[in-house]
């Protein structure tokens, strides 16, 4: 199936698909990149077919960055930018019928943290890269911003992430349950693939997405509700652009 992508590349190994973000310098997610990602998840779903095993890994292209988040300058020209790209992307991943793994190869900030939390599993670089959500520092908010944090993290960690803007390196992120494993840069892809291989069979009976939504349904609803909304603001203008 000939589908071309500009910001990402896809490769398949057995029943595992790897999506690599390739939008230098920092893989910032503008509307076009988010829509490409959505298209990629849909393509992969179609290729796996229903009631079959499969898993998807999303990763950065080097050990420096995963993605440093949304393109905040794009918001200057399009106030609905998140509604047209980022929220639908999160909804797509939360809804996805197969297990998903985020391989946090390097720095991840802001909206990108939510992108990693939307995945079922997170593997992080053990020696390089920070995971941090800075909204409280930047005067930023969007409706439902806490839903993924509530769905995936223990109460005191939620506070640390959203109200303290704590900056995590891999080992601490592991300790706080933000990520499931850490690995050295030269092994992290293998670790992510091993995780994907372990859980891919859980999709076979066709209820993986439905059962996941028993746990994250509120977050899915929050992002669906804000997708493609143009009649009202769903996010607050940041006071500082990061």
């Amino acid at each position: 199936m000939a589908t071309t992508y500009k910001s990402i590349s896809l490769e398949r190994t057995g029943n595992i698909y790897i999506i690599t973000l390739q939008k230098p310098p920092e893989n910032r997610l503008d509307v076009a990149a988010c829509q490409e990602l959505i298209r990629a998840y849909r393509q992969i779903e179609k290729e796996f077919g229903r009631d079959s095993e499969g898993a998807v890994i999303l990763r950065g292209n080097d050990a420096k960055f995963f993605t440093t988040g949304l393109d905040l300058h794009e918001r200057d020209v399009n106030p609905f930018v998140s509604s047209d790209g980022f929220y639908p992307l999160l909804a797509t991943i939360l809804d996805f019928p197969f297990p998903t793994v985020a391989l946090i190869t390097g720095h991840v900030m802001g909206g990108a943290c939510l992108l990693t939390l939307a995945h079922d599993y997170r593997i992080m670089n053990d020696s390089r890269g920070y995971w941090q959500m800075p909204p409280v520092n930047a005067g930023l908010h969007h409706d439902g911003m806490g839903s993924l944090i509530r769905a995936k993290l223990a109460p005191q960690v939620r506070r640390k992430v959203l109200l303290e803007a704590h900056r995590y390196k891999g080992p601490e992120a592991l300790k706080d349950g933000i990520v499931d494993a850490v690995a050295p840069p030269d092994q992290m892809l293998d670790v992510a693939i091993a995780w994907a291989e372990t859980w891919k069979s859980k999709a076979k009976m066709g209820v993986y997405g439905v059962l996941r939504n028993e746990l994250v349904g509120e977050a899915l609803k929050a992002y669906q509700m804000n997708s493609y909304v143009h009649h009202r603001e769903t996010a607050r203008e940041p006071k500082i652009k990061l």
Binding site: L153, G177, M205, L215
Partner: protein
């Protein structure tokens, strides 16, 4: 000596000191919950409620067979749903299992599940619907297999989501992890483990400790501040005949 209140072949209800009531399930071979049995257990809970009245100390322990009986070594599940019954009656869960879960989560007194042996499938929400869980430290597994069977009902994940750490809820619902007693304690799936000869006493101790909390008449209300969403979702799918809520299993075990 406990006072016997119900003494039927498949179910017993006994009253102990301190207003602690013990429901013993003894429906050979595996205490599977069909409609009739689920309704019987609901009846036992209702009877306890009627005996105790409001603003009274009290607690209920739900246990499997006497340790003496299941000590046979072979695969002996404590509970699970009779998946064949769904073939004859597509509303079986709606008439028995879901109302049972709703009853327990709503119950005005502290509840303790004494997990004497294997806990499998529907037995897991049944155990999780209780306020506390005590498990056999030596024998028995706790596992929820819906992801492996293609099974779902709306609200199947509410109790894991509300009672367990997110990574543990994922382990239960998306990985179908099989916990031993020791692991279950470590992951917070159960609150205590004990050797077979002691587990009843441990459950009784817990029951006696928490029974007084019901005296001021707000125990159930306060519990529902924490897990009320689960009670609502079970009630929502109880006694439903005009639409199908659940995803029946693609595989039977």
């Amino acid at each position: 000596m406990p006072e016997s209140i119900i003494n039927e072949p498949t179910l017993a209800l006994d009253r102990y000191d301190g207003n602690v009531f013990v429901i013993t399930m003894r429906k050979a071979p595996e205490n599977r919950l069909n409609v009739e049995y689920a309704q019987k257990i609901i009846g036992a809970f209702n009877q306890v409620r009627q005996i105790l009245g409001t603003d009274s100390e009290g607690a209920v322990i739900t246990k499997g067979n006497d340790a003496k009986f299941w000590c046979t070594g072979s695969q002996q599940h404590q509970q699970g749903l009779e998946l064949d019954e769904s073939d004859r009656n597509p509303y079986a869960n709606s008439e028995g299992f879901f109302p049972l879960l709703a009853t327990i989560v709503d119950f005005p007194f502290p509840t303790i599940a004494l997990v004497t042996g294997h806990t499998f499938g529907g037995a897991c929400p049944f155990a999780l619907s209780h306020d506390y869980r005590v498990m056999n430290s030596k024998r028995g597994f706790f596992s929820m297999p819906p992801v492996n069977l293609g099974l779902h009902f709306p609200g199947i994940g509410t109790l894991p989501r509300l009672k367990l750490h997110p990574q543990i809820a994922r382990k239960m619902l998306l990985e179908a992890h099989r916990w031993t007693g020791k692991e279950a304690l470590q992951d917070g799936v159960v609150d205590a483990i004990a050797e077979p000869e002691q587990m009843f006493d441990v459950a009784m101790e817990l029951a006696k400790t928490w029974a007084p909390k019901a005296k001021m008449g707000v125990y159930g209300t306060l519990r529902n501040e924490l897990v009320g969403e689960a009670a609502k979702s079970f009630r929502e799918i109880s006694y439903n005949y005009s639409r199908k809520a659940d995803h029946p299993a693609k595989a039977k075990i």
